[in-house]
Amino acid sequence: MSHRAQSGAAHRRIIVWSLLSLLALTLLLPLIPYAVAYVAPVAGGVPNPGSDLWRAVREGEAGTTQVQGVDSGILINASGETWRHFRMQQLIPLGALFMGSVLALIVLFFLVRGPLRIQGGPTGKKIQRFNVFERTTHWFTVSIFWLLALTGLILLYGRFVLIPVLGPAGFGLTASACKEAHNLFGPMFLVAILMLFVTFVKDNFYARGDMMWLLKGGGMIGGGHVSAGRFNAGEKIWFWIAVLGGLVLSVSGLILDFAVFGQGREVMAISHVLHGIAALIVITVSFGHIYLGTAGVEGTLGSMTNGYVDEAWAKSHHDRWYAEVKAAGSAEHETAPVDDGSPARDGVMDTRG
C-alpha cells in the first residue's frame, strides 16, 4: 500500500473510533450517578429529577395553568383520598352501627319497659296543647326532613342495600332521582327549621327543674312523677339538637348544593363530612322522639294530630304547664272551642260520653 493510501485509512479509522467513542460517552455518562449510587448508596437514595415536582403536586401546591377556575392550579387533590377513605371506611359503617344500635335499644326498651301509661288512666277531659299553626309548622318540618333523610340515606347506603335489589341500572336511576329531590328540598329545610325555631323557642330555654328532670330520667327509669313545664328537659334537648343540627345541615347543604360561589374542593369535602355526621346524629335522635311521641308514652300523639291531650296526661307529664293553663282561668267547655290558629288559648274540651 502506498504512503498516501495508508494515511487515508488511518484517517478513516480515527474518525470512526471518534464517533463510536462519542456515542458511547453520550449513552454511558448519564449512568455514572446510578453506578456510583449502586456502589456507594447515599442517604435518601438516588435523587429523581422529577421528585421535586411531584412532591409539590402531592402537597397540593398550586401551579400555573391557562384554565380559569377554582382549584384549577391544583393538579392532584391530595386530601380527596382522605375524604374518600373517611366516607367509605368510617362514616358509612359507623353511621349504620350508630343508627342500628339506637333502634335496637329503643325496641329493647319498649319490650322491657312497655309504654308509659297515664297515671290513673285518662279522664276524658281534654286540654289544648298545640294550636293549628304549631302543628302545621311541626308536620311541615317533618315532611321535608323525612324526604331529605330518606333520599340522603339512599345516597349514602343505597349502593350496599339497593344494588342487589334493583341492579346497577335501576339503582343509578333511583340515585339520580334521589339526588335531585335531595338538592331541591334542601333549601326548604332551612325555611322549616327557622319556622320551627321561631314557633317553639320561647318555651325551650332552661328552666328550674330541668336538671332534676334529667337526673330522674324523666320518670322513664324507675317510674314516678317528675315535674316539668310546657316542655321537659328531654324535649328541650331534642329541640336544640334539631335546630342546631338542622342549621349545620342547611348551611353545609347549601355549600354543597350551590357550588358556584368559589368553594374549593377542600371546602366541599369538609362540608360533606359535617353534613353526613350532622344528618346521622339528627336522624338517630329523631328515632327516640318518634318513639316517645307514638308508642312510648300513652296519649302523646294526639297533641300533634288534633292538638289536645288528656288532663291526666298533662298533670302527670307537664304538671307546671297544666297548673299555668288552669290558672289562666279558661272556663271548661262542653265542646272544643273553634281553633282559629291564633296563639294557644286555654281551651278545655270534655269528651266524656
Binding site: 315532611s143 332521582a177 329531590a181 333549601p187 326548604m188 288534633n306 292538638g307 281553633d339 290558629g341 291564633s342
Partner: protein, 212 residues
C-alpha cells in the same frame, strides 16, 4: 314499551279527556239557569262581577289575622306553579315541540326559586288543611287526592330535571297524564271556575247594590 305508550296513546287520551272533560263541566255549570230576577236593579251586575273578582284576590280586613298562612301559602304555591308550568325550560321546549309556539324560558336560578316556593306553598296548604279541625272535617278524598297528585307531579318533574334517565321523564309524564285525566272530575276545576264563580256572586249581589 311503557315509554312508547306514555309518549304516544296515553298522552293523546289524557289530552282528549282533559279537553272534553273541562268543556263538559263548564257547559254543564253554565246550563244551570237561575230564576229570573224581577226586582229593580240597584246597581250594575257587570261592575259587581268585575269588582268581586278583583276584591277576592285579598281577604277582607277582618279575616286577615285568621287567614294569613292560607293566603301566603296559596300565593306561593299558585304563582310558583304558574312559573314552573309555563316558564321552566323543559316545559317551554315541550310546548314548542307540540304546538310550534315558543318563548324565552326563565333562568335556572329562577326555576329553583319557583320550585321551592311552589313546594313550600303546597305542603303548608295541605298540612294546614289536615291540621285545622274545620277544614279536616269538610275535606274529602277529592281534596287530598288532588293535593297529593299535584305534589307527585311536581316531585317527579324535579327528579327528572337533569334529564339523565329517560325513565324519570317517562314517570313524570305518566303522572301528568293521570293528573290531566283526574282534573275535570275534581276540585282542580277551580282553575277554570274561580273567575266565573266570583263573577256570579259579584253580579248577583251587585245587581242588588251590595258589594260582595
Amino acid at each position: 314499551m311503557f315509554a312508547q305508550l306514555v309518549d304516544g296513546i296515553f298522552w293523546d287520551i289524557a289530552l282528549w279527556v282533559f279537553a272534553l272533560g273541562v268543556l263538559w263541566r263548564i257547559l254543564s255549570i253554565f246550563r244551570v239557569r237561575n230564576k229570573p230576577d224581577y226586582s229593580v236593579p240597584r246597581g250594575s251586575g257587570l261592575v259587581g262581577a268585575i269588582g268581586a273578582n278583583l276584591r277576592r284576590f285579598m281577604p277582607r280586613a277582618e279575616m286577615v289575622s285568621r287567614t294569613r298562612l292560607h293566603v301566603v301559602a296559596g300565593y306561593l304555591f299558585h304563582l310558583g306553579l304558574f312559573a314552573l308550568l309555563l316558564f321552566a325550560a323543559p316545559h317551554v321546549l315541550f310546548i314548542e315541540e307540540q304546538t310550534g309556539l315558543g318563548w324565552t324560558p326563565m333562568p335556572y336560578w329562577a326555576f329553583i326559586v319557583a320550585a321551592q316556593l311552589a313546594f313550600i306553598g303546597l305542603l303548608l296548604l295541605w298540612i294546614h288543611r289536615v291540621m285545622h279541625p274545620v277544614t279536616r272535617l269538610i275535606s274529602d278524598a277529592d281534596d287530598h287526592i288532588a293535593a297529593i297528585l299535584t305534589f307527585v307531579v311536581m316531585l317527579t318533574g324535579c327528579m327528572a330535571l337533569i334529564e339523565e334517565f329517560d325513565g324519570l321523564r317517562v314517570l313524570h309524564r305518566f303522572m301528568v297524564e293521570l293528573w290531566l285525566v283526574y282534573f275535570p272530575f275534581s276540585r282542580l276545576m277551580h282553575a277554570f271556575m274561580f273567575i266565573p264563580s266570583r263573577a256570579f256572586t259579584g253580579a248577583w249581589f251587585g245587581r242588588r247594590g251590595v258589594k260582595a
